[in-house]
Symmetry: C2
Subunit: 596 residues, 2 copies
Amino acid sequence: MPIYQAPLRDYQFILSELLSIYQRRDLQGFDEIDAPLVDAILQGVADFTTDVMLPLNSSGDVEGCEIVAGQVRTPTGFKAAYQQYVDNGWATLTSDPDYGGQGLPESVGIFATEMNTSTNMAFAMYPGLTHGAYAAIHAHGSEALKAKYLAKLVSGEWSGTMNLTESHAGTDLALLRTKAHAIDEQYYAISGEKIFISSGDHDLADNIVHLVLARLPDAPAGVKGISLFAVPKYRVNDDGSLGEHNGVVASALEHKMGIHGNSTCVMVFDGAMGELVGKPHQGLRAMFTMMNEARLGVGVQGLGVSEIAYQNALAYAKERTQGRALSGVKAPEQAADPILVHGDIRRMLMAQKAFNQGARALMGQQALWLDESHRANDKSLAANASKLAALFTPVVKGFVTDQGFKACVDAQQVFGGHGYIHEWGMEQFVRDSRIAMIYEGTNGVQALDLVGRKILSDGGAALALWAEIVTSFIDEHKSNDAMLPYIMPLRDALEDLQQATSYISTHAGHNPDIIGAASMPYMQMFGIAALAWMWARMAAVALAALEHSSQEQGVYQDKLKTAAFYMAYWAVQTRSLGVQIESSSELICSLTEADF
Amino acid sequence: MPIYQAPLRDYQFILSELLSIYQRRDLQGFDEIDAPLVDAILQGVADFTTDVMLPLNSSGDVEGCEIVAGQVRTPTGFKAAYQQYVDNGWATLTSDPDYGGQGLPESVGIFATEMNTSTNMAFAMYPGLTHGAYAAIHAHGSEALKAKYLAKLVSGEWSGTMNLTESHAGTDLALLRTKAHAIDEQYYAISGEKIFISSGDHDLADNIVHLVLARLPDAPAGVKGISLFAVPKYRVNDDGSLGEHNGVVASALEHKMGIHGNSTCVMVFDGAMGELVGKPHQGLRAMFTMMNEARLGVGVQGLGVSEIAYQNALAYAKERTQGRALSGVKAPEQAADPILVHGDIRRMLMAQKAFNQGARALMGQQALWLDESHRANDKSLAANASKLAALFTPVVKGFVTDQGFKACVDAQQVFGGHGYIHEWGMEQFVRDSRIAMIYEGTNGVQALDLVGRKILSDGGAALALWAEIVTSFIDEHKSNDAMLPYIMPLRDALEDLQQATSYISTHAGHNPDIIGAASMPYMQMFGIAALAWMWARMAAVALAALEHSSQEQGVYQDKLKTAAFYMAYWAVQTRSLGVQIESSSELICSLTEADF
């Protein structure tokens, strides 16, 4: 069975040393947390995920879900684990205290999500989707709807889903056909079929609240005619007790490449009773307001699976003996050296480590921006944080899940043939992590969102805001020789990114298709530059710590070495991505259908 | 079910126009082939693979193999299809006519293998392994052994396997423990356990000839003490009839990520009777002589699965409608445009197409070098071809399977959520193609073989031989303006490769571990440069054809556009790989175990 050691020290480094969240008394609710409290919570999650969720990861993959008598049965052990999860309060971490939540910052909660995903991504999706449904009702529901559903969703007694996709309407929700018509002033009857519904039905919770996009009879065509409804599996009586089964069933389970432990369902709504969430025809807007959080959550999946895959590859590379180091025998007492002596194994492992720690820091930063946008009393701080979070949302989702998947493939490669068989768990990490590149908006959609909506549509203002922060950081540290190895590559990466931005914005004027053609290499550049920024900042923290304290020198030396590797191996890739954009984008647009 | 259209016109382009094989009367046996004959054979394979093998690909994946009463049962339909395969003579294409083979060149046979792999990789592995066993006995067996086994292996009545790996001995065969001891002058008793044995047991053929690496009692330690044995599943009587069951069984099937239709077995040899193939203690050398062919075969798997994945992604991109082109509505009669209008979809598809056609041309070139090395009357031509084939073997295996897998992942991505479910077949292509990066020497081992054994150990002579060919080509075409867009990027890629070679050879002197650390980015550079060479050559052929004939202008225009895309998108990546090697290799070597 795969091992897992929660990266608790790295969480401390990010929260306390890099982001200084315990000094952020300017943010509402941050005065209620301190390092001992957060450390204790994360330690609790670490214990639970390692002891309870991890042992069910492989067995859940093998067993999968099944429809028995019209109801989805989750894999053996999931129900008991879910009950423990709820009993321990893990579902409530970042939710509103008014409804029983603990009100913790997103920047803390995000790392609980990472541990959940590392140990059992399929399981973690059940509470993950519930949190999405909670957030939608919390942000847009009437007081009556909130009173009806939120406390149960926060505790996890009930769970939630998001019903968007139809077989012909995935990325393009304008095409969706599910219908709703009013029965009375409160209720609507919903009819239609939805596919790819994660956690669509299961046996973990007493009720399931489906958030469903559908069209009212008078709805205008396209995305401006979509409304959002809350449709429970079992109707809820006025006293909060459960009534009869509503007209919604999981008609089939999707047969998927991975995340077998999660029930991905075809859902059929046949006149199911639901209530509006928000205003008529504004359902898509309601969904979009939760998008930053949802996409951060998926980005964290890319990191979470990559982290556990890395840990196992490293452990294997230390244990497995094959061949000898090119520079001579390293373990003369054994018939062969540990494969960690081999250069290519080292390259793969360092690439994973530098990516994981850099991505983790970026996740923390992104979560803190979200916290600032929701909790800052200073309105201009909140507005800037909101802009930066919107800018980075596609990067955090698209770049991190792309590279997280590749890191899993490399981690599997470290195992050789043993990586290809189920027994070691590595091939499951590859299969599971693959979905994160697809759902919650494919990574192609993320890239388009980044270039089209987040960069060009405001004339580059959000990018300029970030570039200013990076430039200030560079200016602040450029007189420090010890920082030069980190800030010079950062400066180069930023310049490459700005040049590519300029190329795209110039050419998009006469040919908007350029935006799409250039978007994916651009998003990769952006992600690499963003992690270079995080690594340069981490290097600054580590250098200061080494100067001012003799404690834990190893931790900070390690950060510096990994930062140096990141700059030497990852950051150098921005230039060629820029060249690729400039040399291939026009050509890609010029091809006719017959050219493919 | 996935579609498939065999790329027959591309085979003609490569064989007749690019490689001019029908003019090669200097190669033994080439006078017996001409274009109509080869076209007819490849058309026959195309029909068989499309009609018979493709329909069993998905069902074979779902059903998998099973051990029933001590014997492996292959998926429904495999046995009947295999019988047809044998009856049609598809197993005999490139085998020695002395034993019933058709004696076709490798450069023709390689494309039959591509079609086999595209349509059903798991099935194709049964005859694939048989051919490996045939080749080992053909090259190293005694006349008696050849008489006993070859005709049956050529026809496919019997099949073959390669038994190398043990649980603790994968890459490092020096560690293997399987034992052999002489029973009489002819027979040895073999005992031990082998894992990951492809096609290890099955119900397709009447007998299975296992080629097994094992140690004799007096064997020296390490790789110089390994002998090769032929061990049949059923003993073979002197009259060629089958005798009693030999002491070899498949004790278990491996549970794998993909290629479920192939029986990957744990094989237990318990005093099984076998005969030596070649001389005692020289088994590994015997295996190595077949390595070029075997690794080319695996490289073709990377291409074959990538090709069918591309074809299906393209078909889907033309059919599936979502969203509108950024430059305005393209299909006003529909509610949305085909996703082929979107820049990132186009980018992914062109990247796949340019890779596939480039890799296919390289496969043809590599196979022709193998043909030249075996069939040229001119000894110096044969010697040079042999050197080039050896140089390119790790590239053809490692680069093509790496990029073929990535192409499958991109093809899956084109399908969005539909790519993640089994129904469309795309996720199977990803799972199946993944193994090609691992077996027959992991791609890390290929990269090390390339840099350490194929480039540095002869002081760069083989590389210089190839560089001279490329430089001559550049010189020949540099005065042709129409060729400049293809030969300038080729020249740059070659220069980048030579600079990286120089860096590695300089630094490896004082630190041999550099070779391993730099090897993977180097192999990727080499592969990209090699395909740039193929594309520049194909562009030259296409330009000449356009000038001299009005036939099939579309075919040649298509080659030119794809060549231009390759140069703009793929070839530009060599520079940054070179930078990566120079900036990160020393660092990778300097890290201690605790740094990971």
